[in-house]
Symmetry: D2
Subunit: 347 residues, 4 copies
């Protein structure tokens, strides 16, 4: 009953096989290989435009490189107060961005509302050079609460951001999970709605370690190669990160894997709701947040269930309860869900 | 005839198998898994002491994290002028080290002589706070020229460094290649000779992407976890980087792989010497540097040989020649060596 | 009627005379002069202990150097949301601190309450290495709202901070204004109440450009000289910054100047209150915040009054009003106060 | 007999008087004052074009801000190995430039020859993204050896630099000393010869603490205000730094002061030469380098002469000698020169 994270799952067998397949003969290092070129072509195809692509091994690296690229050191990056970049990356954006500032905004379900962004921006301007300068908006899709921005919501936020010359970054660690739920195209969910740069994750979706920074306007990617290299994120045997991504994106594998993860979340949410444990936010991807009585929490853990207790900027549970996060993945088994819910029912 | 780099080879089959073996069930992320614990135990055993270990996906990351840990932002890191950190990492040490300064020293065969270090250090002191402060010495073992520091040489350099309170870092991207040639123990080649922190490479030796920062005095590793995380170098599915390392270090696999690479270099060097193309530096690891007439260079390339032309701080070839670097690896085939030498003979 | 800032005033005549007096003959540069030594002795005397002192030309430099000294790049510095370091220094703490993070806390009158700090700290811990690490508390004395921490309040905050190994920094841009109001000794208001490092301002008090970082435990000041130098904040003709400070601190000049500024604030506050414009926070130093109807604001400005409109994290005025900040200084004339209040009365 | 530095002199009386004159009434802070506007106008007039101007209190700040503005963090700044930015600023360019790299070039008399720059540049290119990227050339006028670049030499260097898209920075801590010797116009010695950004010093020339970053193409100065502020280099009582600069540049005061310093250097050089102590480099500004026997050095110091022993990248004196630097300034007295030379004669 492992619902701790989608990174506790292993590697999708097809992706693992692709690594093995790539292990034949020699290949030039540092991204000058055929697999890398194929990934770039595939991403251009998927996003229906020329894009600049930079593969890296972690999502933190992708986010921090992307933000440093679009914000000067004196820049402000607006994000949700519960966003991964603000709470879980130990200051990577500040490090890569040479001291840029994250400003965490409130918002239910870990989503930023357009008015919230507008209000925040209203506090900036007219106080140069004393005040840091708004530089970017970062949104997470699917969000840290498992909710999803609709393309209209993305476009509304991007319009506000662009009107103030902010770049729009999307942390897409769970991009596919959002995509399959929205039934939008990758282009619609990103640049057609105003996203300028995307952290596109494959690791949580089934890869070993493969993330991409996708810059939709290649001219904005100037010297990203140097930026990645000096961050130590250019892999020497680059074909193997590219091979993972290629397998992930081949045909509909990435969507299939995401649909499976989402379906498991739906099932878990449905059954928990039936036992009276209604998720606190809409279950739109592969994350479920529920409030558990402490006694049930203890019982589940004693039975071997693993998951994390979380706090939320916008939701406060009492002292007798805990807010827990349950994550499903492509590897989640229905039997685990049934056993977990069974334990909840008996409580 | 691929002699471009040891990173153009793929993954050693046993290491690839270990990745597949690790792909069973769930594992906690971020290094809280059994494989990671086993790697730490194995390294403690190999180095005959408690060590602090931080796995990362690239050698650049290992070097830069290690140097940032032992040097303040106003620190000077002495290294060879031809060292990888100085020439090939796009300023990663300066980035991770928040502006530290690399001072490149001369030295034949990419090795620093004790007197050279002494002379360099004599230029520092007595000019505080205007001058940057000597903080570390970084040596590469095996060196970028394929030469090897004897343990006595390491100890002599470390003694000079420690007398001025400098930390000693070893870039061990080809640690095993040096180790098997010296027939020294890992402990002797490092901390017993004064090395404080080691970048231990497995990638060039046969892994997919696996390097380690090894801190010999664990107290000096304080907050290295945060440092790695904020650099984006803590892998979420950490078991797979640990599994690579574990397979690499299991029994004598790492040494066997290194011996094979070195043996191929010996054979190539021997046969080139026989054709009159004597390597310019002692062939002590898996790198061979030879001066080729431009005509031969063209002919070899036309025949499909791949390798890099290099420049050296300490060696200047005429305009009719090129200095080329030939690298062997665990994957090098004898037939390629014979074909390459055959082409040289006929010239 | 200039109430814009205490930095719109010029130089106190005695301090200016001290600059002229110091302009005789030669003096060694970079702080190796008699004036600097005398300032250090004087500060040791005033603070009743050995201290390490670093003079710099701006308060932003003093704050940023102090915070960088006590926080690692992955450190969190807690401060009030309205504090100068958070709102007016364009990211200097983040720059000097190589990416450290300021976490702004709420609190009435720009003061942090002990419970607020406790609650904030409770959110940290147990999530290493993903979360940044609490490193310091920064409080402003007198605060940006013109209020003052009592020594007991400082001690209470420091106790909480020290229990979590946080350093305590005091931004003392208006240190003297607070000191004379509290009638405490400099030692009581700082290290005896738990302050570890102080930004001590003289500029607003009457100097041309003179601030000091005072480190109460000199061992914690290691390499501050290098830190200041590499920030470009070591003045070459250092005797002139030292001469300013020396004149400022000679006998009770600094206290006399502060008392005059405070007395003007008291008078202004008293008379405004009499007209029905009661300051929104206790007037404890030389800052007065009042809510003005927009019409009165326009009238005052038309009559030549200068002051700034401010926003506050903890106070929201309606759309028909503005929150304005009135600052007095050693140079404020009673006639200006009377004219200003006269205009308010007639409204 | 103080020849230690031009910063051991005090403030020129006229500049000091200008500070006192500016000390009347109130003035807006942070550069929004009349003096600042007047300095900007005066510099535009002197340089015969629109310029962007940023006043700062130290030369290190001016240099570091200028270089950070024209080089990315992965940039290489070429400079002379003996340049102040490389040897005396404790890594300020690396700090402000977020890890940029200074590459010190050789050159007699602390000047870089065009061919030296060409050779250095030839080592860059074709190795992206592994190698740092050439970004700027920094030359010092007058140089650290007291020599002067002719306008043709500046133009030749700038042409080479611009051909590779490098910006050209001039460290003009002793700009006036060079200018009056060359009898060139400020425009000729800078932007008309290809200089893009200038650190213009007034401190050594007679100010208390006043330096300027002058950006000749104002569009290249975008966000320099923020950069300066977050470095803590925006003075609050800005009128006083502007007043210094204004007095320095009024009529020909800056040139008169520089001519006096140079004339003292000429006299000292001439008389030393007559005693057989010929300066090792042409005396073209206010710096004289001579090789002294150790016995004479001891005798001079015993008699109260102050100066610094220097080492040079391009000149090595034997163990029985020292290379000493003698600096004259606007404040140097002929009597001191005569006494100094008298001591040399008797040796």
């Amino acid at each position: 009953m492992n619902f701790a994270s989608d990174n506790t799952a292993g590697i999708d067998p097809d992706i693992l096989a692709a690594i093995a397949d790539a292990n034949a003969g020699y290949a030039r290092g540092y991204g000058n290989d055929d697999w890398t070129e194929a990934v770039e072509r595939r991403l251009a195809e998927l996003f229906e435009r020329e894009v600049a692509v930079f593969l890296v091994p972690t999502g933190t690296a992708a986010n921090a490189l992307a933000l440093a690229q679009v914000s000067p050191p004196w820049g402000v990056v607006f994000c949700h107060a519960d966003s991964h970049i603000a709470t879980d990356e130990c200051g990577a954006p500040e490090f890569f961005g040479h001291g840029l500032k994250l400003v965490g905004l409130p918002g239910d379900g870990a989503k930023i509302a357009p008015d919230t962004l507008k209000t925040a921006l209203a506090g900036y301007g007219g106080h140069s050079p004393h005040q840091m300068v708004p530089a970017a908006l970062s949104i997470t899709q699917a969000s840290e609460a498992g909710t999803i921005y609709r393309t209209g919501e993305i476009a509304a936020l991007a319009e506000i951001a662009h009107a103030r010359s902010l770049a729009v970054h999307m942390d897409g660690a769970r991009f596919a999970n959002a995509l399959v739920r929205l039934n939008a195209s990758p282009a619609q969910m990103t640049w057609r709605s105003g996203v300028d740069v995307l952290s596109l994750g494959a690791t949580k979706g089934g890869a070993l370690a493969a993330e991409a920074v996708v810059v939709f306007e290649p001219a904005r990617a100037a010297f990203m190669g140097e930026r990645r290299k000096r961050a130590g994120h250019l892999l020497s045997k680059h074909r193997f990160i590219a091979a993972q991504f290629l397998a992930y994106l081949t045909e509909d594998r990435w969507l299939t894997l995401a649909r499976r993860a989402n379906a498991m979340a739906d099932k878990l949410a449905e059954q928990l709701t039936a036992t009276g444990l209604k998720p606190v936010w809409p279950v739109e991807a592969n994350l479920i947040f529920v409030v558990l009585p402490r006694a049930l929490d203890a019982k589940l853990k004693a039975a071997g269930a693993t998951y994390y207790v979380r706090s939320s900027e916008s939701l406060h549970v009492g002292t007798d309860n805990v807010l827990v996060r349950l994550v499903t993945s492509f590897a989640t088994q229905e039997s685990d869900i049934e056993r977990f819910v069974g334990l909840c029912k008996k409580s």
